[in-house]
Symmetry: C2
Subunit: 168 residues, 2 copies
């Protein structure tokens, strides 16, 4: 037995995305309880040249759907970045999870050596499937989810690491 | 071909830990250039009840060495949490990488179904090897590395996501 490419991708992204959606519920409840304009939180950045909360969420979503689509060899669905509210961000996460759930294990399994070319700004970076998943997609995905978590915690939303990790 | 438990663990942790060490170099250089007491950064928290920078680093290290040791079925080496400076934190990372590098692929491979029992505060949580690695160790490890990154960025250290992801 070993780990299949599917096991290391789709269900892992879905699990954390669902946890992320629950973090947004807590953030929204926090705003209601404290009479805070939710847009203050969703537009918050940890530093002026860092991306705001909304983009942390949409990039996490894009990374998950991009990884799953590229490994499966299907077109990456385009989702426009228009979200501003917690409800809209939750809908974006739900749409991402819904797409990922359409991909069957057999579409991803066996993609360890698949050529994946990422367009990162001006340059194209070639990867093999496993290297792309473990070395790029995972750390990139977690980066944006954790940064979103940190933005909420930094602003006083009561969350714990268990909310983020959930039940694996 | 599939992903081995070794491929998804030891080299992944080592890669990110080495990138983390390079982030500390940049943070240290930043403190020197701006005449900032480095202990201000290493003791910084994003919120009063979050852990300080030092603990983000040591927990990331503990998570990596713990995962590798548990999967390999060897005793988890004890490293005391005494680090305060960037140099000490870099030495802690180096010690962690050194331990991980002593573990051979054959010691970890085949541990997908291995019973792993984690002591989390008062309770014991049972996992199977793959579930533990992908569902707990990965997200937990990335959590602390990214939180350390965010602490530095929030304090004006010039880092980019590429410094964190590196060359996978």
């Amino acid at each position: 037995m070993t780990i299949s490419m599917y096991q290391a991708s789709a269900p892992r992204f879905v699990n954390i995305l669902n946890n992320l959606s629950a973090l947004l519920d807590k953030a929204q409840a926090h705003c209601e309880a404290k009479k805070i304009d939710p847009l203050v939180l969703t537009s918050y950045r940890l530093y002026p040249d860092m991306l705001p909360f909304t983009r942390q969420i949409t990039i996490a979503c894009d990374n998950a759907k991009g990884a799953v689509a590229r490994l499966a060899g299907v077109e990456v669905p385009k989702h426009e970045d228009v979200e501003k509210t917690f409800e809209e961000l939750k809908a974006r996460i739900a749409k991402t999870v819904q797409f990922i759930n359409t991909i069957k294990p057999a579409q991803i399994d066996g993609s360890e050596e698949k050529d994946i070319v990422l367009k990162l700004r001006a340059r194209e970076v070639p990867y093999k499937g496993m290297q792309y998943l473990l070395g790029f997609a995972h750390p990139n995905f977690y980066f944006h989810v954790v940064t979103a978590y940190n933005i909420l915690r930094h602003n006083g939303v009561e969350l714990g690491k268990a909310d983020y990790i959930g039940t694996p």
